[in-house]
Every structure is written in structure tokens, then in C-alpha cells.
Symmetry: C2
Subunit: 566 residues, 2 copies
């Protein structure tokens, strides 16, 4: 590409609308532009990079034996009604009607469609296993689209679906995708962790999220400091701290005016927050549920929902519901005489002695409370782990960091094949539902994650395999005919051997050209300047400060050297 | 691809839902499946062919200097309100609201979006000319989706938009696209004509449709039998027949009970249909318009609308409106004492002598009517040309055939840049609106057109450049280990040199494999059978009945020979 003929879209200023570096740089380098909140147009340079990511994904999917499909984005409501999700998907799903008043959605995901394809096209166990994938545009009406293409409403996703005859087959299909994902993110040069993820609510039996560490991430990821353990905090099991045994003291009701929060209670009672047990009142679908965790812990809603066998809506109860359950203002709930449909007690609470809880009476708390003697409930793991607790795999201390999900693989089992009656004839002649897996990668988000991890104050630093262009040739002085001629020859020669190359043939000062080349992040820059008189050019990697002076006829070899490193 | 591991979707029966051969064959060969009316999922083989078409288009667009973009399908209503099309686009446009009740459409076309991009990103004449294109999914809620992907509601389109500083520039941009389109359809091996098309309603100044002749086409195309003239019948100018001069006779009112149609009048008056002039009453937006054409001619609504300076709604008036205009039942309208907002008179009618028209009185007609003496109106070309009339370019007789539009190029001029205030600073320092062109290709429809033109009773016959796979290697006997081994080696060798090759390693009889290979339409078939004992294989082109017996080590050269013909 010759820059003089290209639409050059770089911006010097940091756009006010963009909070994170990938979003800022995608705008500044002219990779994309906003069309509406969470809806973006890809400009030529951005599209080229996006397609490089797609090509890597496609290559690894094909190598893993997956077959590429392309489903429509318009999906008739009937399919979603069959799976039951037409009613359970909230306002995140874009819905529309056609001219005959038939309901459609814009696919936020395609489990229903691929289950439908499988039940129509796969009749026998002999045709299994099969993994289908597509790279396709998805629609999710996010409540708060943000961070540019990191969380957008129209986005490209690679989604794959595997169909197996049994769960051993699913394990193989799932592992093949796991390996493919590792390869994909490795080739994109993204540092990411495969974190165990919750699979309860979707009815599956195994799940991993590929998480990129990021300050602006929306998930908390638990990493072990010693081994390779990683898990979403929603999933990571917590081990109850064992408390020193104490003699049980007598229950006492204490007047605690205006002391509602753990902080207020700590300063009122002058004891450690570990001496309290919080009782949270939740509204979970139609049920009112009490959840007890130690005063210094946080409840884990995913674990709570899984303990109840799944739910659609989970929220902390409003004051009215709390009053109905406790006969008190919010802040004084406790387990004794609590009127709820179910009481969940974190295991740690069941191990405590002589602790403090709300008395279900405004401005009162009980002290010297003990599990079993004073109340009972369903005991289990209902809390989030905290920094420094023991790794469930090796026992070393864990770290917690924010992360962004770039990929997710998931054992679905028979969730969709059963509800949609997608069956095949097995070797024994019986009809069985397909055992399914689903596997997603956010393509735009992966591109943004690459930029998030590869940039400096001057711009993007593309890894070679994702770079929209790999080499930029810069004639230093526009009016110098020799420089222009030699630069053009080099450009043609690189193009001829299949390198994606830019010639910056604009009538601009060299300084501006270098600034743009840095902002665009082109991995290799070749400057044809004064030294061309001695048959030499300058070669510079975007990732390094070094300038290499190289003979003009050797510079293509130098470029090839970089390609060999891929 | 090894067929034993692929989802094999061929069908022996002709599906009842499909009327035309491309639709039937796309279903039978398993290229696609219906998701909903006018909405299709592409299966692996179909997607591969679709991508071959996309690659050809991309290649020719890039060669023509166009730059690839990717705009969103979701478009905010505001843009369409600026151009005025939010209100004028009918139910063909899918509309939806987001969770905040903001209006969006699913883009049926992207003039507004690209005009918006240009006004934001192109500031100076120095940046011009620029042509942007995308290969992107479009949505049109067709009233009658049919013929498979020929007329569907979700489809892939290549749309391009050019921006120039003056009309000479637009001519150059337009011609570059014209040449690119010719190359694209040539490489797809589609026989098609670039037909002059109407551009009036869109406000442009030049337009050509790339039309494929087809029985099921929805447009009538005028072809010259001698020169290269071709035009949409909407556009093709009609030359008024010169009638023999006669002396003007006296007007007479004749009682013509129940004679309303031209056929009825011909049999009543016992004269040729050329002796009549029909007066059609149209409702055009808010106006009532009378249109007169000779009895044997058909009115041309596009010419009529252009004469009125454009319109949104055009329909023949209902009986009530006809009665208000004529004081008579429908069928007796005529130009004398007609109460309409405008009367359009086809030039041919103005040349006639002593002809017959409706009397604006139920069951009466006038004879010996003459233009000027008895009535006047706006004279012009308001009719469709007919088979055998003179070519407007060379005078030879014309033919008329049905055609399907696969591409359309269009000089838009300033229609969008003016309404949306998209301007640049010209060399003289003044602000000027961009001079625009737009250029579309229906990608799925092009694929269907390829099949429509390349098939026989056994299946598809892919042209080499569009074929999803170019070679199929068939071991004749599944259980013959030598055949299987040699076939596999050949498969690997072809793959290694970049050929898209299928190995039919299924445990099926050779006859079934041959039938599937024919149905799939793979251009070259290599059969590894008994003759492999003598080191020989069979080579067959799908397009020919000949079987060539070739030495095993020479067959790759034979394959390469075919590639050289591209």
C-alpha cells in the first residue's frame, strides 16, 4: 500500500472517549471508528489486522479438524423457544419482527442453530465426532458497552460446536479445542491463562476461560503463585479456615443502635471482623434465601445459585423483603427465627464459636452464637476466595487479578440436544442425544488484547503474525529522486515475495513519517535516506531502539530473518 | 479434506421447495440449508465456494485501487434521517430498537454510512479520489424471498463507494469499477451483459446493471442482435413509430357496451390494436396522473416517474379514483375532459390520426380522436420498447430477455453528500460536496448464477476458479490397500502444492462416489483403481465425458495443465 493513496487516519491527540490504551490506540492509529455506542466501523488498517487474527484462528481450527460453516445472524424465535431461551434471555438479546410479524433475534450465540443443523444432518454414530465452527458477526445489547471493541454490541466471534456420541468423545473434542486455543493465543502473542470456570448455570460439566490479565477486566481471576492453577473466582473453591475450639457461651442479645455494617460493628464491639457472621437476604427467582458468610468474607453468587440448582434472576432483596424475613430494618438480619425459603451457611461459619449475628430486631445483635445449638442450614462453600489463601491444587498462596475473557470453552453435555430433541442412532440401534461442547473466541476483543499487551507511549507494537503490514519503507526526503526510486524498488521487491508492505511516499517530513510508523506499530521500518549514496539503508524494529545500518541489497535478507522467528 | 471425516450432505432427490436449478443443486450438493424464509446457513462446501467468489472480488477491487473497510450492519436511524431515507424506505428495511429505545436498522445498503465516514475523515481535495469497499452482510426484508440465495433476506454484498472532487474524476472511478466488474464476472465464468440502467429515481447521472440471462429473472433486458447495446427495459429508449398521415375526421361518440379491454375493443371495432390509445390512471404519491400509450404498447413506470421528477409510491389508481377522474367505470378513461393533475402522452400517440379512446362515460368511446385538436398533454417517451424495434445505438432489431442482476454500478453525484453535508475543501479553498459513485455485487447471487450457468443433469460443473475443491481423488475399492495408499499419497502431494483436494476415503461403492463427485461438481476427478497395478490412474474433467488414462507420476502435471488455463 502506498500511503499517498491511502486514507491516512492517524490522530495525535488521545481521544477523550477512550479510557484504556487499546481503545485509545485503535482510534489514534485509525483502526476503527465509532458508529454508535458499542458499534464500530473497521477502517482498512484495522480490518487487515482483524483478518490476520481470523486467519490464525481459521488455521488452528482447520488443523484441529473442525469444519467451517456460516450461519445466519437472523434466527427465528421458534428455535429459541424450543431450547427455552427465548424467555430466559434478557434485554441483552436484540429482537425484531419481519414484515409478516414473525419474531426473530440477532444471534448472540448459536447453540440452537448448530443443534438444529446437527439434528437435521447427522443421523448415525458413524458420522461422529464432528466439530463445526464459524467466524461470524454476533449481536449483544450490552447494558454498558465500553472500552471500544472490548465490550461492544456488534462483534465478530469464532464459535465452534462439537458433537460426540459419548462423554469420552467430548473429552477428546474439548481437549483438541483447548490445545487449538493455546496455539491461537500463543501465535497472537497474548499472555493469557486458561482459568477453570463455572459451568453450573449452563448445565455443562467442564469449562475454561482464556483470560488476559488487565486492570480494566471485569472478572476476578485466581492465579497460583507456584503452580499452573488458574480459575475464575466464581469457580475457585474456598477452604474454610479452622478456628480454635472454644467452650460455648450463653446467647446474649445486645442493643447496638445504628451499628449495621461490619465496620460499625467492629468499632462497637471492639473485636475482629472474623468474630461476626453476615446474613445476606437474596431474592433468587421466586425464592427468598438467606446466605451466611464470615464478617470478613464476600458471598459468591455463582456458588449460591449452583447450590439451588440454577436460577435466572439473583439480586439482594429490597428493604420490604428483608423486613418480611427479619421483622427488622435492613442491617440486622441473623439466622435465629429468620423467615426464609432456604438458609445457606458457608462452611467457615459452621466452624466458628461464640460469634455475633443480627438479632432480626432493629438495633439488636446476638453474641455467643453457635451453629447447631442456635440454628442450622445448608452448609457448603458459598464465598469468594481471597488473596493469600491456599491454592486448591498445590497449597501455595494464591493471587487475585482482574482479567478479560478472550476465549471460553465449555462442555455442554446434553443441555441443548435434549431440549431440542437432537438425536442420532448409536451402534446399538438406540436413539441418543448428542453430547455437545461449545467454544468461543471474541475476535475483536482478541485484537484489542494484542494491542493492550503490545504498545508503548509512541503507539502500537504489532507482533509480526498479527501486524496489518509487516514492513514500512520510508524514503526520508520526498524530493530526493534517488531515495524515492530506491524506496519504490524495495517496496516492489518486498511485495513480490509476499510481504505486506507500506511505502510512505507522502510529501511529509521524515519526523512525521517516523511518528506515524510508530503509532501504526509496523514491526519493521526501513529508511532510505542519505546513506543510500553509499548503498546503505537503516533497518529498525518497532520493538527495539536500535538502528541497524544495512547494505541495500542485504535488507530483504534481514526482513526474512524476522519472519523465520515466527 | 477427507470425505470420511466430513459432514456429507448430498441428496439424491430434487427438493420440492426449489424451483430453479441453482437452488436445487445448492440444496442437493449440501452447499446450504434454509434457516427461515430467505435466510440460509452455508455448509462447509458452500462456504468454501462463496469465499472463492469473495476472493476474486477482493482481488479485483484491490487491483482497481479500492480500499477495504468493514462497516457495522447495525446503523443508527439518525444517519438515515439525515439523508431522508428513514421515512422513504418501506417495509423492506428491517428496523429494531435497542434496550434504550433508540432506533436502528439492519443496513440494506450503506450510502449513508460511507458518506458519514467520508465527511469525518476526508478533509481536502488532496486526499481524493478514494474508493472504499466492503464485503459485508446486508438485510432486506423482501416481500417474496425466493429462488434460494438468488433473492434472500440476509445476504453478502460487496458494496463500494467512490469519492471524487469533480465529475471527470467520477467518470474515472466509475470506469475503473466497470472494468473490475467485467473481470470479476469473467473470472467467475459468468456470461453477463452490462446493461444501461435507469438512474433517475436515485438522482444519479449514469448507471449499469450486470445482468445474467435467466428464465427466472425479474428484469427485462433489451439486447441488440447486432451491436453490444444492452439496457434494462426501464431505461431503453423507445422510438415512436411514424404513422401514415391521414385527414382528420370528425370526433364521434360510440356506444361500446362491455368493451373495456383492448381485446374487447379490437373485436368490437374490428380494427387493429394500433388504432387505439389507452389512458391509464395512476396514483403517484399524492397526484393523480393520466398516461396514454398506443393500444399495443405497455406503459413504463420508471420513465413516467422520472418525467415527474421522482416519486416514492406508484400504483394504478383504484376504481374510486378512476371514477373521480373520469365520471365513469374503470375501462372508459380517455383524454377529453379528464380531471387529472397531469396527463402524460406517449410520443407515438401524439403522432396518430383518427384513433379511438375512452369517452370518460361508462360504455362509451370516442373515435376519430386527434392530438392537439381534441386534447393536449406532456408528450414524451413513456412506454416500454418491444421485441424487434430498432436498437437505439445501431438500428438493428432488438431482443428482449429476462435477466438477473448480479452487479450494479451507479453514478450518485451529490445526492448523499448534499443531503448529509459531506464536503471537502477544494484547491480554490471553497467547500464542495463529494461527487460520489456506488457499486454493488450480490455475492451469494453471483455464486448461484455460476451454478445456474454451469450444470448438467448430474450436478454442478464448477469453473476452476470458483470450485470449492479443484480435485477429487477416488480410490475405487475401499478395501484395496494399494489403491487406498496410492490415493492417499496423491492426496497429500496435491495438498502440498496448494491444490484444494478431496480424498473420497468413504467405505462406499465406486459408483456412489462418482455420483457424489459429479453432484458436487469438482472440476477434476482422479480415480485410483485396478490400473494402479500398471502404475496408471484415470483422469476425468467434470466438464467432459472423456476418461484419460495417465501414468500415476504424470497425473500431477495433468492437474497443473488445467490450472495454467485459468
Amino acid at each position: 500500500m502506498k500511503l499517498s493513496k491511502a486514507l491516512m487516519l492517524t490522530m495525535r491527540e488521545v481521544p477523550a472517549e477512550a479510557e484504556i490504551s487499546s481503545h485509545q490506540l485503535m482510534l489514534r492509529a485509525g483502526l476503527m471508528r465509532k458508529m454508535a455506542s458499542g458499534v464500530y466501523n473497521y477502517m482498512p488498517m484495522g480490518l487487515k489486522a482483524l483478518k490476520k487474527v481470523e486467519d490464525i484462528i481459521r488455521d488452528e481450527m482447520d488443523k484441529a479438524g473442525a469444519q467451517e460453516f456460516l450461519a445466519s445472524a437472523l434466527i427465528p424465535a421458534e428455535l429459541w423457544k424450543e431450547s427455552g431461551r427465548w424467555d430466559t434471555m434478557g434485554p441483552e438479546m436484540f429482537r425484531l419482527k419481519d414484515r409478516n410479524d414473525r419474531d426473530f433475534c440477532l444471534g448472540p450465540t448459536h447453540e440452537e442453530v448448530f443443534t438444529d443443523i446437527a439434528r437435521n444432518e447427522i443421523k448415525s454414530y458413524k458420522q461422529l465426532p464432528i466439530t463445526l465452527y464459524q467466524i461470524q458477526t454476533k449481536y449483544r445489547d450490552e447494558r454498558r458497552p465500553r472500552f471500544g471493541v472490548m465490550r461492544s454490541r456488534e462483534f465478530v466471534m469464532k464459535d465452534a460446536y462439537s458433537f460426540d456420541k459419548d462423554s469420552e468423545g467430548l473429552d477428546i473434542s474439548y481437549n483438541a479445542m483447548y490445545e487449538a486455543y493455546k496455539n491461537i493465543f500463543f501465535r497472537c502473542d497474548i499472555e493469557c491463562k486458561a482459568a477453570e470456570a463455572d459451568s453450573g448455570a449452563m448445565g455443562g460439566s467442564g469449562s475454561a476461560e482464556f483470560m488476559v490479565k488487565s486492570e480494566v477486566g471485569e472478572d476476578d481471576i485466581v492465579f497460583c503463585s507456584a503452580c499452573d492453577y488458574a480459575a475464575n473466582i466464581e469457580k475457585s473453591p474456598a477452604t474454610a479456615e479452622v478456628m480454635k475450639k472454644e467452650e460455648l457461651k450463653n446467647l446474649e442479645k445486645i442493643h447496638t443502635p445504628n451499628a449495621k455494617t461490619i465496620e460499625e460493628l467492629v468499632s462497637f464491639f471492639k473485636v475482629d471482623s472474623k468474630m461476626f457472621a453476615k446474613t445476606l437476604i437474596y431474592k433468587i427467582d421466586e425464592k427468598v434465601v438467606g446466605v451466611m458468610v464470615r464478617g470478613d468474607r464476600e458471598a459468591n453468587e455463582v456458588k449460591i445459585v449452583n447450590a439451588l440448582g440454577g436460577a435466572v434472576e439473583v439480586e439482594l432483596a429490597d428493604d420490604k423483603t428483608v423486613f418480611d424475613a427479619t421483622s427488622a430494618k435492613t442491617g440486622f438480619a441473623g439466622p435465629i427465627n429468620l423467615k426464609v425459603d432456604e438458609l445457606l451457611v458457608d462452611e467457615e461459619v459452621s466452624n466458628m464459636y461464640n460469634f455475633i449475628v443480627g438479632a432480626n430486631e432493629t438495633d439488636y445483635h446476638y453474641t455467643n452464637v453457635n451453629y447447631n445449638r442456635d440454628f442450622t442450614g445448608k452448609v457448603g462453600d458459598f464465598r469468594k476466595v481471597t488473596e493469600g489463601e491456599k491454592c486448591p491444587k498445590c497449597g501455595a498462596p494464591i493471587n487475585i487479578a482482574r482479567g478479560i475473557e478472550v476465549g471460553h470453552i465449555f462442555k455442554l453435555g446434553t443441555k441443548y440436544s435434549e431440549s431440542m430433541n437432537a438425536v442420532f442412532t448409536d451402534q446399538d440401534g438406540t436413539q441418543k442425544p448428542f453430547i455437545m461442547g461449545c467454544y468461543g473466541i471474541g475476535v475483536n476483543r482478541t485484537l484489542a488484547a494484542v494491542i493492550e499487551q503490545h504498545n508503548d507511549e509512541n503507539g502500537i507494537i504489532w507482533p509480526l503474525e498479527v501486524a496489518p503490514y509487516q514492513v514500512i519503507v520510508v524514503p526520508a526526503v520526498f524530493k530526493d529522486e534517488v531515495q524515492m526510486k530506491k524506496a519504490e524498488e524495495l517496496y516492489d521487491a518486498l511485495k513480490a515475495i509476499g510481504v505486506d508492505v507500506i511505502l510512505d511516499d507522502r510529501n511529509e517530513r521524515a519526523g512525521i513519517k517516523f511518528k506515524d510508523a510508530d503509532l501504526l506499530g509496523i514491526p519493521m521500518r526501513i529508511t532510505v535516506g542519505k546513506k543510500i549514496a553509499e548503498g546503505e539503508v537503516e533497518f529498525k524494529l518497532r520493538s527495539s531502539a536500535d538502528l541497524e545500518v544495512i547494505a541495500y541489497d542485504k535488507v530483504i535478507d534481514r526482513v526474512k530473518e524476522e519472519f523465520k522467528k515466527i
